[in-house]
């Protein structure tokens, strides 16, 4: 166990190093330079370009730029090229904005998809199963932005509440119940949208896991010896079907930083996804690279956590 942990940590650090190299190369070898953002702007004199290049080490060769960048990242000194603010501070602020979306979305996904999946596994082939199958395909296939507009039209027309942004613009300083309701209304649509795909996929997965476990011998044995159906399903089958999902807790970690670019830009939600999008538009390389690096760390940490959880939960696995 310890040797497995040690080996996988070393492996992940090597992977992380290569990810950092590859992402750095992708950004810096792409055509176009950040120092030539607007050559037609009269205020943008060659001297300024030169100063800019010197300030951000753009005149140095690539490998020195690489070392500078990651040295700054680890000492927390990376600054955005756009407004000279600390990149980590900027990301942290946006992260706090995205966090409620992520939490509500995750709670919705995990609380809804299990009952749906289990029920359609129990009544497989029935009306409920077939309609839930069809709806989950529908939700997987619907483009997020289109679904967002359908929901916006529906909510705005039938409830007459504003939904764009984190709170109603110019709401001032209302009493706290009104403030709370306002925040809830604004939070609801984006997080529902973020959760739909997850619900559809996860409930299908729960269903197939349940079906798989139900065909196992120990379930048949339990039925044969006369255990009540409820107990067979929820004690013998469900517990075993849940095993792979424990590990999926590790895999939701990367979702923390992802934030949906499309949904956040439709709802003008000042979260991570939108910040990344704006950074791409402005060619703000430090922000892009930092977001990329953090998300790679989270992906690796997520897979690591899920491996370890799997070992803890399932005694049959020995690595």
């Amino acid at each position: 166990m310890l040797s497995f942990i040690g080996r996988s940590i070393i492996q992940k650090i090597i992977t992380l190093f290569f990810v950092s190299v590859v992402s750095f190369l992708i950004i810096h070898l792409a055509p176009g330079k950040p120092s030539q953002v607007d050559p037609l702007n009269p205020k943008f004199t060659p001297e300024m370009v030169e100063r800019f290049r010197k300030e951000f080490h753009l005149d140095k060769p690539l490998y020195i730029q690489y070392i500078y960048f990651y040295r700054n990242l680890f000492t927390g000194k990376t600054v955005s090229w756009k407004d000279n603010q600390s990149a980590l501070k900027k990301i942290w602020e946006r992260f706090l904005n995205s966090l409620p979306l992520f939490i509500v979305g995750t709670i919705l996904t995990w609380t809804l998809s299990f009952p749906i999946g289990i029920r359609s596994a129990i009544f497989r082939g029935g009306f409920y199963d077939r309609s839930s199958t069809f709806f989950s395909y529908l939700l997987i296939s619907i483009p997020g932005f289109f679904f967002a507009y359908i929901l916006i039209i529906f909510v705005v027309n039938s409830f007459h509440v504003p939904v764009i942004g984190m709170e109603t613009f110019g709401i001032g300083d209302p009493s706290w119940p009104r403030w709370l309701m306002d925040r809830v209304w604004h939070l609801l649509l984006p997080s529902v949208l973020g959760a739909t795909g997850g619900i559809a996929i996860l409930s299908r997965y729960v269903r197939s896991q349940m079906l798989e476990v139900e065909s196992q011998d120990y379930v048949r044995t339990a039925r044969a010896k006369g255990v009540p159906e409820e107990q067979v399903l929820y004690k013998h089958a469900l517990r075993n079907a849940l095993l792979p999902f424990v590990t999926m807790f590790g895999l939701i970690l990367p979702g923390l930083i992802g934030g949906s670019v499309i949904i956040e830009s439709i709802f003008s939600w000042p979260g991570m996804g939108r910040m990344a999008y704006e950074a791409i538009l402005a060619r703000d390389y430090p922000i892009i690279l930092t977001v990329n690096f953090i998300s790679a760390v989270l992906v690796l940490a997520g897979t690591f956590v899920s491996d370890v959880l799997y070992m803890v939960v399932d005694p049959r696995i020995r690595l």
Partner: protein, 393 residues
């Protein structure tokens, strides 16, 4: 030699077996029977065929100098007309009148016929989906095949050094240092010839001691490729695609290539897993015993048996690629403007969402239907290709 292939073909080609072992139907008939039994997949296939015809018709009818449906024809006096409204014939020049006599899907804010634009966009969605997934599947089969079949071989230090020298030379050439770059390239390629000659010359003799360091195996090919997959999986995919597409000049081909280059990991893993299990099976051992060459074993015997999960994931991958392209177009990074795509029709229409909802709903439902059809067909394919279902009559 040809007879040693797959179990089903052994049955169909050996006459000595009792007739009960011969399948009553051919593979294709069996496939068709299972497909008709799976109503969702069948509906998916029908929608896909319709979409394919529409895209092909769209390509023919909307391109050229005098297209039948001109997607770029601006009629400002006819803007934002709802679907099925007829044009005001008095204000239009004869060539501006839509060929169908009505605006089937209405007009947008510049008075362009949404039906013509949808037709033009269909071809974009279709090609982006197929080409991107084609690239991904090709890379996946190549990488997965190598790592599954030759995976146990080790890469030697000298090979790594040669590859490094070649890469460095190419990089220097690309940067502009022509002399040193071409010198390195020459050294690298000379070494490759040298090592081939060495292999032939030395034969079975062990290499001299001082060269042992260079011939030490460092890392197995399988590990190398799987680590590469891990590295690629670390990138958040939509964010990576968005970054690359935003940095590259806007064009349809860049989008296809970028989507393809960032989505081959699934196919690689499937092919590798299949190859690892197939390599140990008797028909491969028999083929190898007969002296069939490695490449013939791979292409003739193993890939046909390993292709089923790849096909399923490719079908679903097409759906994902179409969604990704629509999302990129929606954000304004798609195919450049005069060309219509479903994503940018929707994105242009979002400003008029309450006045002209058809600009949102027509492309939205079109994307939904096509993506749904690919997903349903892919899931159906998974069931159909499942060998457990096959022999049940």
């Amino acid at each position: 030699m040809m007879k040693i292939m797959k179990s089903s073909q052994i049955h169909s080609e050996t006459p000595i077996e009792a007739s009960s072992a011969v399948p009553r139907r051919s593979r294709l008939q069996e496939f068709w029977r299972l497909l008709k039994g799976n109503s969702l997949a069948f509906v998916g296939l029908i929608i896909f065929v319709l979409f394919f015809c529409a895209a092909l018709a769209g390509l023919i009818l909307t391109s050229g100098t005098k297209p039948v449906f001109d997607p770029a024809m601006v009629r400002l006096q006819e803007k934002l007309l709802p679907p099925l409204s007829s044009p005001n014939l008095e204000t239009l020049r004869p060539e501006e009148i839509p060929k169908l006599g009505v605006y089937l899907f209405g007009t947008d804010d510049l008075g362009r016929d949404v039906f013509a634009r949808m037709l033009q966009g269909a071809w974009v969605s279709l090609t982006v989906g197929f080409v991107a997934v084609g690239i991904a599947v090709l890379i996946g089969i190549f990488m997965g095949g190598i790592s599954g079949y030759f995976g146990q071989g080790h890469i030697r230090v000298d090979q790594i050094l040669a590859a490094f020298v070649l890469l460095l030379g190419g990089g220097l050439l690309a940067v502009g240092a022509i002399f040193s770059g071409s010198a390195l390239l020459l050294i690298g390629s000379a070494y490759i010839f040298f090592s081939r000659w060495l292999k032939k010359g030395l034969g079975k003799q062990p290499p001299p001691k001082w060269m042992k360091v260079f011939f030490a195996g460092v890392i197995s090919i399988d590990t190398l490729i799987m680590r590469l997959v891990d590295i690629m999986l670390c990138f958040p995919s939509f964010f990576l695609i968005l970054t690359v597409v935003a940095l590259l000049p806007a064009s349809m081909y860049n989008i296809m290539i970028v989507i393809g280059l960032t989505s081959w990991m699934g196919a690689t893993r499937f092919v590798r897993a299949e190859f690892l299990s197939l390599r140990e099976q008797d028909f491969v051992t028999a083929a190898r015993a007969l002296g069939v060459s490695n490449w013939r074993i791979i292409f003739r015997h193993m890939i046909p048996n390993a292709i089923a999960p790849v096909l399923v994931s490719a079908t679903i991958g097409i759906a994902t690629a179409i969604l990704t392209e629509a999302g990129l177009s929606f954000l304004g990074f798609g195919v450049p403007p005069p060309h219509a795509t479903w994503g940018n029709i929707l994105s242009d229409g979002k400003r008029f969402i309450f006045d002209a909802p058809w600009l949102t709903f027509v492309p939205g439902f079109a994307i939904l239907l096509v993506v749904l059809s690919f997903n349903l067909f892919g899931e159906g394919l998974r069931d159909i290709l499942n060998p457990k279902l096959k022999e049940r009559y």
